[in-house]
């Protein structure tokens, strides 16, 4: 089928193709690649947010990028007000076998659960100070939860004199984000069979945003372990 499409692409001019393929014009971006593509290194990542583009124009960097080839943005990378890179990241972590639609619906269900719980709490709270404390935006809850779960140190297995030592060391920003999201998902997957994932995920996020719960404890455990193993720290460079 794809081969035919490519053959068609060469034969039929662009305008004809869109009308003949479908009754309605495609609203989402579609690209016809024969197989999974990997773009060469010199292809830049696309800048698809309006704010980022405005920043480029302000700094006069647009002319530099004009001549460089750019990758097409993925279907989920939109300039919507609702777009959030961290949410996208979490969705990708939840995703299995490339089923992004399902992953997205699960995360959104979790957000809905968080929102319902927080609104309920908001209505129950009696004083305005208490009300102000409650995070109503589920995305804020997610951001705070991930922030609270990020570890500051990590243990690296290093072999010295035939013995493997767990050596504490610094952690990169990227890996600590990875660990935070992974731990959150591990914690929510560790549940009763009858509890649905969105529900449990919502609870975990709320707990973590509150600086309590399984995941924060796991982070603290890691920190404690690093503290206990500080005598091995010199193995990192010796």
């Amino acid at each position: 089928m794809n081969n035919i499409r490519i053959a068609l692409r060469e034969v039929i001019p662009n305008r004809l193709r869109t009308t003949s393929r479908n009754q309605w014009p495609n609203l989402t971006q579609t690209r016809f690649y024969a197989r999974a593509t990997s773009f060469p290194d010199y292809f830049q990542n696309p800048i698809f947010r309006k704010e980022d583009q405005a920043k480029l124009i302000e700094n006069n960097e647009l002319s530099k990028l004009a001549a460089i080839p750019v990758k097409p943005p993925a279907a989920c990378e939109t300039s919507s007000v609702y777009y959030d890179p961290l949410v996208n990241k979490v969705i990708n972590h939840v995703m299995k076998m490339g089923n992004k639609q399902l992953a997205r619906s699960l995360v959104e269900k979790a957000f809905e659960n968080i929102k319902r719980k927080q609104i309920e709490r908001y209505h129950l709270a009696s004083t305005p100070e208490e009300k102000a404390k409650i995070l109503l935006n589920p995305k804020d809850v997610l951001h705070r939860a991930v922030e609270n779960c990020k570890p500051l140190l990590q243990l690296l297995p290093i072999k010295r004199g035939g013995i493997t030592y767990q050596v504490p060391g610094p952690i990169t920003e990227k890996r600590s984000l990875f660990l935070a999201v992974k731990w959150l998902l591990d914690a929510s997957n560790d549940k009763e069979r009858t509890v649905h994932f969105p529900e449990q995920f919502a609870w975990e996020l709320l707990d973590a945003a509150n600086n309590t719960g399984k995941v924060v404890k796991r982070k603290q455990d890691l920190h404690r372990q690093c503290e206990a193993n500080r005598a091995y720290a010199h193995y990192r460079w010796q």
Binding site: Y82, E108, E112, K115, P138
Partner: protein, 371 residues
């Protein structure tokens, strides 16, 4: 900067003022209130919709919003206007609500029910026909009808409906005028005497579940007679009416025979109620795509959904379309959601949501959920 802030402030202010109406009685609603929300009293809501009537997703919303509100929309106003101008000596007028999935047919009906309750109609309301014919929980009570050959009874569903009927018409049923015209004999020992109040009949059906279907049959007959004699005016509301005409139900007799809807005794009772051979009443039914399985959901128009049989049964009727939100309705709904903390974020969000939901009320509610 200052003028912009001022403008934003005024816009906010005008929004907060205009999405709610203080007019709580549906009879007083007029074109001016289109798109605005009015609150239903909690106790009344429990009385009218305690046993179903509002969609499940909407019930969830009412819990989160801590109040039950309905939007005043044109279709409901149209029907109310028609009812006000109806000559009740003529045969009943039948209204068919139709529209896309999630456009608010059931909520329009809820609005009308509130109106009917206020105007002291005797309400005969079926919350969702598919609940009887298409939803089969593990233990669905079914029995062959003892009185009518070849019919199937759904005693538990019938008794539940009688309870619903009783709670909806609590006050009206106390009226001593509502009496039975003839004697009904249920078994050797049990019978209902002539001239007994209607409430007794209903309570018998609830207490003796075995006879519930026959009681409904008798009740329908009596209600028609009472309305003809001007003892009461009746408001019949049936949601998901087209299920009665879909060729098959999901019920199976103990001998594994599939059951057609016309073989269910409840169907026949409620179909006699929607005929126009009686007076002093109003009939509102909905034709809903969700009431039938997916193979018959290609169009939302009543002629397609009701089949030829249903169309001829209802003909002549007044079709009323419940459409998507208009511009104004969408804005008031969005500001209502903002007020109830359901929607947050920059105001450009509304434009996006309007585009993605295509102004479909249910879709809009769904899309707001994770925001």
């Amino acid at each position: 900067m200052f003028t912009r802030n001022l403008r934003v402030f005024f816009r906010r202010y005008s929004q907060t003022c205009t999405f709610r109406t203080s007019e709580l009685s549906p009879a007083q609603h007029s074109e001016n209130q289109i798109g605005m929300f009015y609150t239903i009293d909690k106790n009344l809501c429990k009385q009218l919709f305690g046993h179903g009537g509002l969609p499940k997703s909407y019930m969830k919303q009412t819990k989160t919003f801590t109040e039950t509100t309905l939007m005043v929309r044109l279709p409901a106003l149209d029907i109310m206007n028609c009812i006000k101008n109806t000559d009740f000596d003529k045969p009943v007028v039948r209204y068919v609500l139709y529209g896309e999935k999630g456009s608010g047919k059931s909520l329009t009906m809820a609005h009308l029910l509130h109106y009917a309750h206020e105007q002291e109609f005797l309400i005969v309301h079926v919350p969702w026909v598919s609940e009887w014919l298409r939803r089969v929980p593990r233990h669905k009570e079914m029995a062959n009808s003892p009185t009518r050959e070849g019919f199937v009874d759904l005693p538990l569903d019938a008794a539940a409906w009688l309870l619903h009927f009783k709670t909806q018409n609590q006050t009206l049923l106390k009226n001593p005028d509502l009496k039975i015209s003839k004697e009904y004999t249920w078994s050797k020992r049990e019978s209902t005497a002539e001239g007994a109040p209607l409430l007794e009949l209903v309570e018998l059906g609830i207490a003796r579940v075995k006879y519930a279907c026959d009681v409904i049959d008798a009740l329908v007959y009596e209600i028609k007679l009472l309305s003809n004699n001007k003892r009461c005016k009746t408001f019949v509301a049936i949601d998901g009416f087209n299920t009665f005409f879909y060729p098959l139900t999901r019920l199976r007799t103990p001998t594994k025979r599939t059951v057609a809807p016309e073989e269910v005794s409840l169907t026949t009772s409620f179909l006699t109620l929607t005929k126009n051979d009686w007076t002093n009443g109003v009939v509102v039914v909905t034709a809903d795509q969700l009431a039938v399985p997916e193979d018959h959901q290609e169009s939302y128009l009543p002629k397609y959904l009701l089949y030829k049989k249903g169309f001829e049964h209802l003909d002549p009727f007044v079709p009323i379309e419940v459409g998507r939100y208009s511009e104004r309705e969408f804005l008031t709904c969005a500001s209502y959601y903002r007020d109830r903390l359901w929607l947050r974020g920059p105001s450009e969000l509304e434009d996006e949501l309007k585009f993605t939901s295509a102004c479909n009320p249910y879709k809009f509610m769904e899309l707001c959920a994770p925001l």
